[in-house]
Structure formats: structure tokens, C-alpha cells
Symmetry: C2
């Protein structure tokens, strides 16, 4: 047995030790202050050290108590950062997921996990009234927003092969989450080409202002590409008027992405508030918020799988799938 391996009885002992630390934390969760008694100086003192020459061995487990005591306690009094409070059963499953260590990019490399991901994604789609949408779990809502806008770009002004050409513009309400301008920047579209359309006193995008902005851009030779609707916004939870926005997007042949990372899973409980969600081309969700899954668990849904393929598939020779079976051949959006 090599130094990297752990005998089964040792694995059981270590897992039991960590389970106790986690159970103690959960037992004390409600009485913990939402911000721990700590400071930058103290965390540096505790958690900074020179690169060690020797392995720490079991001593590493002692530090876990310090980690717990200098973490944010996410109990019922903690409302910061739009965070779900976590859900212990999912956390327990993460132990097994990390032991199995599957590469979930292709059926051949993770038969069970790839199939489960598809099932979960289709359940999420159906649960919010978008049955038939496909998609992918992601590292969070920000990444799902980036992917949705990458699909929009490749659908409306393809750039993957030849690069961006011309000035494309995108639209969102002034209440939009910062991940949207960040995505626009990363995609090379330029944040100045994201029009922040005024919202009303209810913090919802005003459709007439959207129409006006599109008209003005068209008149000046720009190419409208996509609209991002929020459902709901991070500051107030406002849900943009989805049917009206979808109507404008359809008339002008724009991609409609709905940023539902904060709110759209609430469509399970209050579908009427989210009427029009099913008109989107792509939707971002965050099961690590209102479905309480452990970080990170985001989700991108899209109406048309071939648009995802056009945006994302580009596989090296070494990773080409040689199977023609429709299930077993799945790899990298292909």
C-alpha cells in the first residue's frame, strides 16, 4: 500500500471523525453568530504558514475545528449574499461523489453520473414549467449566464471561428445582476454595448423603453443580439414582464436569456408570477440557492440543444467519441 492510499478501517475512522465535527457544527448552528468572532489578522495567523516539507498527517484534522469556528454560520438569521443555507443530506452525498471522482463530461467516463445529471436537469426544467428544455449543471448562476450569452452570440452573430465583427448590442434592465456585464465583457462584446434599460418604480424593466432602445440602435447601424430578463433581480426580487419582453425579442429576432439564478426556481411554488418563462431561449438557475444544495450547483437550461452544440462543441482527437449509440456516444455537447 502506498502512502497515498488509506486502508478501509482508516477511511472509516477519519470519516467518522469528520462526521462528528460536522454534526457538532449542525447541532450548534442556530446559536452561532452569523459572523464569527474573527479578524483578518487572526485568520492569517491560523491559516497561513510556509510551504511544509513534511506531510501534516492526522494533525490536519485538528485544524478543522478552527475552520468551522472561522466560517460564516448559515442559520436562520443569516440573510447575506443570496445564499441558500445548505442541506446536510446533499452534503453527505458529496462525500460519495468525491470518492467516486467521476469525470462528468461524457457517458463513457461517467455512465451513472451523466445519466443522473440529465434526469436532474430535465426535472428542473419541468418543475419550472419548461418541460423539454435540456441543459447542464454548472458551477453557479454566473457561469450559466455566461454560457447562455455565449449561445446567444453564436446564434445571432457567430464569432467562434472567425472572431467578432461589427457592433452587437444587448439589453437588460438597470437592475440586472453584475454577472451579466461581466459575461458581456468576457465574450468580447464590450460592457458599453449592454444597454441598461430603465426599470419602473416596481423595479421591473419597462417594455416600451426596451423597444425604444432597440429602435435607436437599429437606426444607428448597430446589431441588436439579445435581451436578458431578470426573474427576479438580486436587489429586490423583481420579476421582469416576461411575456412582453419575449414578444419584443421575437419581433426583433433577439435571443432571450432569463437570469433566473436568484428567483426562477420559485416558479415551482408560484408559477403564475413566472408566466412567459417558457418563452426563453436559455435560463439560468441556482439549485444552490432555493433548492438548498451545497455550493456549487448552478444550472443552464436551453430550448435548442443544437444551439449549445454550435456554441460549445470542439473536441480534440484524443477525446473523440467512437460510439454511435445515441446515449453512450454523448460527449462534450456533441
Amino acid at each position: 500500500m502506498s502512502l497515498l492510499e488509506v486502508a478501509p478501517h482508516e477511511f472509516r475512522r477519519l470519516a467518522a471523525e469528520v462526521t462528528e465535527i460536522a454534526a457538532d457544527y449542525l447541532s450548534s448552528l442556530e446559536s452561532r453568530p452569523v459572523f464569527p468572532k474573527t479578524s483578518g489578522q487572526e485568520t492569517q495567523h491560523l491559516f497561513q504558514a510556509p510551504l511544509p516539507e513534511e506531510a501534516m498527517g492526522a494533525k490536519a484534522f485538528k485544524y478543522l475545528h478552527d475552520v468551522v469556528n472561522h466560517s460564516r454560520a448559515q442559520n436562520g438569521r443569516f440573510f447575506g449574499y443570496v445564499l441558500g443555507s445548505g442541506e446536510p443530506v446533499g452534503a453527505i452525498a458529496d462525500l460519495l461523489a468525491s470518492v467516486l471522482n467521476q469525470n462528468v463530461t461524457a457517458w463513457r467516463s461517467a455512465p451513472a453520473a451523466v445519466t443522473l445529471e440529465r434526469t436532474v436537469v430535465s426535472w428542473l426544467a419541468e418543475a419550472i414549467g419548461c418541460a423539454g428544455f435540456q441543459g447542464s449543471l454548472t458551477g453557479g448562476g454566473s457561469l450559466a449566464n455566461l454560457m447562455g450569452l455565449a449561445m446567444a452570440r453564436e446564434a445571432k452573430a457567430p464569432a467562434n471561428e472567425h472572431g467578432l465583427a461589427g457592433k452587437c448590442v444587448l439589453y437588460a434592465s438597470e437592475e440586472v445582476h453584475m454577472s451579466i456585464p461581466k459575461s458581456v465583457a468576457l465574450l468580447g462584446l464590450g460592457r458599453e454595448n449592454l444597454r441598461l434599460v430603465p426599470a419602473g418604480r416596481d423595479f421591473r424593466l419597462i417594455p416600451a423603453k426596451l423597444e425604444k432602445a432597440i429602435q435607436a440602435d437599429k437606426a444607428s447601424g448597430k446589431t441588436p443580439m439579445a435581451v436578458v430578463a431578470s426573474a427576479g433581480t438580486v436587489n429586490t426580487g423583481a420579476i421582469d414582464p416576461l411575456p412582453e419582453i419575449a414578444d419584443i425579442a421575437r419581433q426583433h429576432n433577439l435571443w432571450l436569456h432569463v437570469d433566473g439564478a436568484y428567483g426562477a426556481l420559485a416558479a415551482i411554488a408560484a408559477p403564475d408570477k413566472f408566466a412567459g418563462l417558457e418563452l426563453a431561449d436559455s435560463i439560468s438557475l441556482d439549485p444552490h440557492k432555493w433548492l438548498f444544495q451545497s455550493l456549487d450547483c448552478g444550472c443552464l437550461l436551453y430550448r435548442d440543444a443544437s444551439a449549445a452544440q454550435r456554441a460549445f462543441s470542439h473536441t480534440g482527437d484524443y477525446a473523440k467519441s467512437l460510439s454511435s449509440d445515441p446515449i453512450e456516444g454523448f460527449a462534450f455537447f456533441e
Copy 2:
């Protein structure tokens, strides 16, 4: 107690049950076939079902045996997909990490975890001979490559605010990993603007060919932006001649990104083979490969933190940090 909460004794019982499943798997790991006896039809039969109306409760744990038996067993006979074989102690720590559920974007939201990430990143940098580099853990080497090239773009041909203008070109050997053309595409630069420079019979990029390609592009009015060196390549493990490439990059004022996802952590054991790594502007690593950490654990290192700030910082009002303490004020690359 709500339905979402789990009593401490129940948490302990469930964690012990999953620990047993994981320990049994680890005990049988060496004797398992590297590909499970399964088919697309069988995984669909096992893991697809209509969206349930009722919670599965404890029945969900029974399915974990099926998940294990239809997963890839990563034992010593499994060489596929450049995967590390996983490391059970790290997997156990993932249980606690998922229970603590920290948002590791800012010191204020995860004092211990943010400080630990900085420590681990600085250790990784020092271990491969790049002491002083800063960086970030990422969802994998592909994401680290994307971030490295996003930094290159913002440093050499800023596009975040105004969008891409002009034709920028990038260079890599013809042996480069597919994540590089994918990143170039996502950034809007166009895959056709990635020059695949010939490699020699040793599969290493030929510096004279790189120099020639840069000269040709300059002569035709293009703007050389960045070189990607591989250390090592995914197909053969070849390490590009880093000092010569760094010299050419410096002469032409190009960003030098080293894709070290597959190989660069081997610099811990064989530093001579990686001489010149410390001349890079950015480096991608994958602790989930040769450091055996559970998926996903990638890392981006960079020489100049202000370049990361220029590329990535753009924070919404609701998330602005109000602290002026240099440690406690850290948030989102700012």
C-alpha cells in the same frame, strides 16, 4: 424542526451509511473492472424517471449502490482521460466543506476558506518554482486556461469595456489541448486567429517557427497578443521549450500563458524539465490530476495581481466591500 432539517443523530446515521458504501467501494477498487458492466439502455432504465411528486426520503440512499456499480472505477489499471485517481482523505474533507457551504468570493463571506485558498495557491506556486505568483482555485484546467487568456486579452488589447477591435492573433503548438481553441472562441477572438505552430518530432513547439509566424502576422497588419506554451501536452506529455518561447514573447511584448494542467505540477519532482516556467505571465494547474484531489480542483496562477483585477473585477453595488482592511476587504479580485 422543518422538513429540510436533519436532526444530529439522523445526520450521523446517514453519514455512517454513506461512509460504509464508500468504504466498501474503496475496498473493492483494485478488483473492479475499469469500465463497469453497463450500457446506455441500462443507465437510462436505472437513473431516468419522471419528476416525482413525493420526496424519495431514505430510499434515495438505496440507489447509491447502483450509482457506484455504474461508475468508472479509477484504480491502478485505469489510464483514461488524464484523470487523477482521487484521494479519500480529501473526499472526506469535502463532506465538511459541503456542510459549511461557504461562499468563497470574499473574506467577509468565508474568512477561513478565503485565507486557506490563498495559502494553498501560494504553496502551489512555490512548489513549482513560481514563488510570489498569486491566483485562484478554479473548476478545472480548462477554466484556468480561459481565465489566463482573458487576462492576456485585457492586458494586450483591452476589450472588456469597448469590445474587441482589430484582428488579434495567438500562438500555440499544434499539440495544444482543445481547451485553448475553445477559450479563444469564447473570448470572441476567433479560432482561426489561433496559429497552430508546428512541433518537432519530439512533439515540442519549434521556436523558429513561432518567430516566423509572428513576423508574418505583423507584416500583414495583425496584432500578436499571446503565446500558449504546453507543459506538457495531453497526447504525449511533451514540454515546450519554455525559455526560448519566453524570450520570443518578451521581444514581441506578448502575454505568455503556460498550460500546465496536465504536467506542470511534475515540476515539484523534476524542476529541471520545467526551467522557464517562472517566466510565464499566467499558468494553469490541475491539483485534481497529479495531486489526486477530488474533482473539481484546478488553479490559475498569475505574476501580476493587478492584471487579474483589470480582467475580472466589476462588482455590483449590493456586493461592494466597505472594509478598507487589506485582508478583510478582499472581494472579487478587488
